[in-house]
């Protein structure tokens, strides 16, 4: 079978037509407007009529004194977050998979995904209370160990720890759902055979569980990469302060602060393009790696 029949192909085109039209109007056409990044925008003349300025906007981007640092921060924070998110979700799923009480499993699973649906604006306020000098965490630290309260938000190391920790806290439950699904689909007879052989829990984990869900792990890693370099604004913006700018500033937070002074859309578009290009590079590399080592193809 599978010889293309012209009649069918026409139907396929018709089915795709609405989506493609919508993409053309709301994605492709406005994306072409990114030429703004190479222009000096004049509202009277519009995007297309404004004069070209070549790479001027990119030049002012690279002239930002801390541009290199901000780039490094953006990449580091994105990558660490992805790795932590995936590994913690996996660890959680594995733990939960060890429990045998159904209602318990269900309830825990249902509870931990909740933070995913809450906005950072709300969560940031709560975390600031949690980790403040008089907050819950410091209360426990001083009571249990007699240690001085830790200034979580002024120490660069602690601050980054909090950024990563809260990000994981918010996302792990959601990612874990996918892992759990993968885990439940592993053939139980594999485990039964292993137990007959007297394999320990650890052995079963490393020899059956992990290999079985390897494709899922790779998948999640790759899908996480798509939003690389654009995530995290809401979180960082609502939690940071000038003492930790040097480690926590990312493109978006910097541009935001610059918005108070600099107010130029073409400049922001230049940043967007630059970021897209870097992100594209990342995704391209990761796809290549995944195909090579994970035997996996997403698109």
């Amino acid at each position: 079978m599978a010889r293309p029949r012209n009649k069918e192909v026409i139907h396929y085109h018709i089915m795709l037509f609405p989506a493609i039209v919508m993409l053309a109007i709301f994605c492709i056409y406005p994306t072409l407007g990114s030429v703004m990044a190479f222009k000096s925008f004049d509202p009277i003349k519009g995007i297309w009529g404004s004069p070209w300025v070549g790479l001027d906007n990119f030049r002012s981007l690279f002239e930002i004194p801390d541009f290199k640092r901000i780039t490094v921060n953006t990449i580091t924070i994105s990558v660490v977050k992805i790795v932590l998110n995936v590994s913690c979700a996996l660890a959680f799923a594995l733990l939960l998979n060890e429990t045998r009480v159904r209602w318990f499993k269900r309830s825990v699973q249902t509870v931990v995904y909740l933070p995913f649906f809450l906005s950072w604006v709300i969560m940031a306020g709560i975390f600031k209370d949690f980790f403040s000098v008089e907050g819950l965490i410091n209360g426990m630290i001083t009571r249990l160990s007699g240690h001085e309260p830790i200034l979580f938000f002024t120490s660069k190391a602690w601050f980054m720890a909090i950024i990563y920790l809260t990000d994981v806290w918010k996302g792990f439950g959601f990612n874990a759902i996918v892992f759990l699904a993968a885990l439940t689909s592993i053939n139980p007879s594999l485990y039964e055979a292993a137990e007959v052989d007297g394999a320990s829990r650890w052995k079963k984990l490393t020899h059956i569980t992990l290999p079985s869900i390897r494709p899922t792990i790779v998948l999640i890693l790759i899908l996480s990469l798509q939003g690389i370099l654009s995530g995290g604004f809401d979180q960082i913006f609502n939690l940071y302060n000038p003492l930790v700018y040097s480690v926590s500033d990312i493109y978006d937070t910097y541009i935001y602060r610059m918005g108070f002074q600099n107010n130029q859309y073409e400049f922001a578009t230049a940043v967007g393009l630059f970021r897209s290009a870097v992100a594209f590079l990342f995704i391209f590399c990761s796809q290549w790696l995944a195909e090579k080592y994970g035997d996996y193809k997403v698109f």
Binding site: F41, P149, F153, V178, R257, G259, Q264
Partner: protein, 567 residues
């Protein structure tokens, strides 16, 4: 999956743009805040060709003039059923008497600079309404210069000269000769400014008299007194800390403005230096002294250890909780944050004053006299109609119109509690010292030195509020009454206890170089100041900060500012 779901537009980039204003020249290096020209057109500007008929500031337009506009709406708006901004008794008056009628092109929330953002988008889309009122904060003058450069707004020089009412012109003169500078470009007036009082900017130190009495102390007069009081409060079992927010200066509540004021120094502002040139406040040597004092307070635990994480709402929780007995606020603190404090503790007795500086004189910062301005879209047929509406608005805002007072101001008036402005277009030129003068007027009436009936309507209303409050059996039943009465009776009193010398900014707005370089300078400044206060760096770090600030473009910006200001 969390990062994989794609929305139409990158949300975070959008957020990043929240405050961005319209696009404009990326490369043609003209100062974009180049407004102030001291040769500005003023009320007494150049003679203009006489109009065909003698302009009358208050006459009815021969035909109905409709104009589009955009406004902010609070979520608290409380209009009578069936009425709106476009349809209410105030608008009807304007339509009947001036033949002027507004049409709402759009509305935005009054929070988070949603209005400024909308204006910026519409400028980019070349789609502004006929009339716009724009606040100077946070970057109104920048927006204005973009509008002017793009040629999107009318030159109002002649309209103002011909049609502004004598009272409006006279009131504008209260602001001084240079009041039109920020809205004048190449000698042409492009916006009609509103002048507000300058005293709201004065940082007031609020302290709890009930605790001071317990500790046997007087109301603090100096920084040393504040220090003593904080330590004494601690021995009373309170926190003994000063509520402090992340914006350590130029913020109306819970900032260190009063400390900088005590050293007569004004970080973040362009001020006139000793030699008459404009200098940047943050790099002045007195700032170092103020920072040294703050570092000492921080190390002694008088400042919350993680104040840099708090916004003003968070910082004043300590006030509401009854944990803090001294804080920096505005004269209107009886509206915010004090109500929560007295609701939780009826014994809380807050008093206000402006500290005397290290030289024994009370110093305070000020801000630009212009708080907002009105622009008219290029090509709008009848700018004079808008000018006439503004003439009436000025009279209305000065409480000179009985019909307007009855509707919007007096207790029980139809719109007294409407929580929105009803004038079709508003301009208001007030005495810069409105608050202290009003306070003296009120007290004169209350002390029987002046007859209430001969005083101005606003004085009368405030006196009535205070008297109603004093007669009330339960002082806390109506918190709006409590706030209204104490605002002048206690808050404004704080402004006059010590005579205050205010330092007004010598330059406001932004320049081209600022747009490029100031973010990095501000970052460095904030980091350095916080590091010094929290003891991560010694106070001598300030000197190397100043050197770096100058070399990283600060000197160039200063030169640009001085060139623009024409000094």
């Amino acid at each position: 999956m969390k990062r994989t779901i794609k929305t139409g537009v990158s949300a975070s980039l959008l957020v990043a743009l929240m405050l961005s204003s319209a696009a404009c020249s990326g490369s043609n290096n003209q100062a974009s805040g180049e407004s102030p020209k001291s040769t500005a057109a003023t009320a007494t500007a150049t003679p203009t060709p006489a109009p065909a008929e003698k302009p009358d500031p208050f006459s009815k337009m021969p035909e109905l003039v409709e104009f589009t506009t955009g406004i902010t709406l609070s979520t608290e708006v409380n209009m009578p059923a069936g009425e709106s901004f476009e349809n209410n008794d105030v608008q009807n008056w304007f339509e009947e008497n001036l033949n002027v009628k507004p049409k709402l092109a759009w509305t935005t929330s009054d929070q988070n600079f949603a209005f400024e953002q909308k204006v910026n988008l519409l400028i980019a889309a070349n789609n502004i309404p006929d009339v716009l009122t724009i606040n100077v904060e946070p970057n109104g003058l920048n927006i204005l210069s973009k509008l002017v450069k793009a040629g999107m707004v009318e030159d109002l020089t002649q309209v103002y000269n011909d049609y502004a009412s004598p009272y409006l012109k006279e009131s504008m003169k209260l602001g001084g000769d240079d009041v039109f500078d920020p809205v004048t470009f190449d000698g042409k007036l492009y916006a009609i400014p509103s002048l507000s009082d300058i005293e709201t900017a004065i940082p007031v130190v609020w302290s709890r008299k009930d605790w001071l009495d317990q500790a046997g102390l007087q109301e603090p007069q100096t920084l040393d007194d504040v220090e003593t009081a904080l330590k004494a409060f601690k021995t009373l079992g309170k926190t003994g800390q000063l509520p402090t927010q992340q914006n350590i200066y130029n913020a109306d509540t819970a900032s260190f403005d009063f400390v900088f004021g005590a050293y007569n120094t004004y970080p973040g502002q362009w001020i006139t230096g000793d030699d008459g040139n404009i200098v940047y406040g943050s790099i002045q040597p007195q700032v170092k002294e103020a920072l040294a004092r703050l570092a000492k307070w921080y190390s002694e635990g008088l400042i919350p250890k993680d104040f840099m994480m708090s916004d003003s709402n968070k910082a004043v929780e300590a006030v509401a909780k009854g944990a803090a007995g001294i804080f920096d606020g505005s004269w209107w603190a009886p509206w915010y944050p004090l109500p929560d404090s007295v609701k939780n503790d009826h014994n809380a007795n807050w008093q206000a004053t402006v500290l005397k500086g290290v030289d024994g004189i009370a110093h305070a910062r000020g801000y630009g006299k212009i708080r907002s301005f009105v622009v008219i879209k290029k090509g709008f047929k009848h700018p004079e109609a808008i000018m006439k509406a503004m003439n009436v608005a000025q009279d209305a805002n000065a409480k000179k119109l009985d019909w307007y007072n009855k509707l919007t101001f007096e207790a029980g008036g139809k719109y007294t509690d409407a929580k929105m402005g009803l004038l079709p277009v508003s301009v208001s030129a007030k005495d810069p010292h409105e608050i202290s003068n009003r306070y003296k007027d009120i007290m004169a009436v209350l002390n029987g030195e002046k007859d209430i009936n001969s005083s101005e309507p606003e004085t009368q209303a405030q006196v009535k509020t205070i008297q109603t409050y004093q007669a009330a059996t339960d002082k806390f039943a109506d918190m709006a009454l409590w706030s209204g009465a104490n605002n002048f009776y206690v808050g404004a009193a704080g402004l006059v206890k010590n005579p205050v010398q205010q330092t007004l900014p010598a330059f406001i707005g932004t320049t081209d170089l600022m747009q490029k370089k100031k973010t990095a300078l501000d970052d460095m400044e904030k980091q350095t100041f916080l590091e010094i206060i929290t003891g991560k760096k010694t106070v001598d770090e300030f000197d190397s900060f100043v050197t770096k600030w100058k070399s990283m473009g600060g000197d160039d910006i200063t030169a640009e500012v001085n060139a623009i200001a024409g000094k």
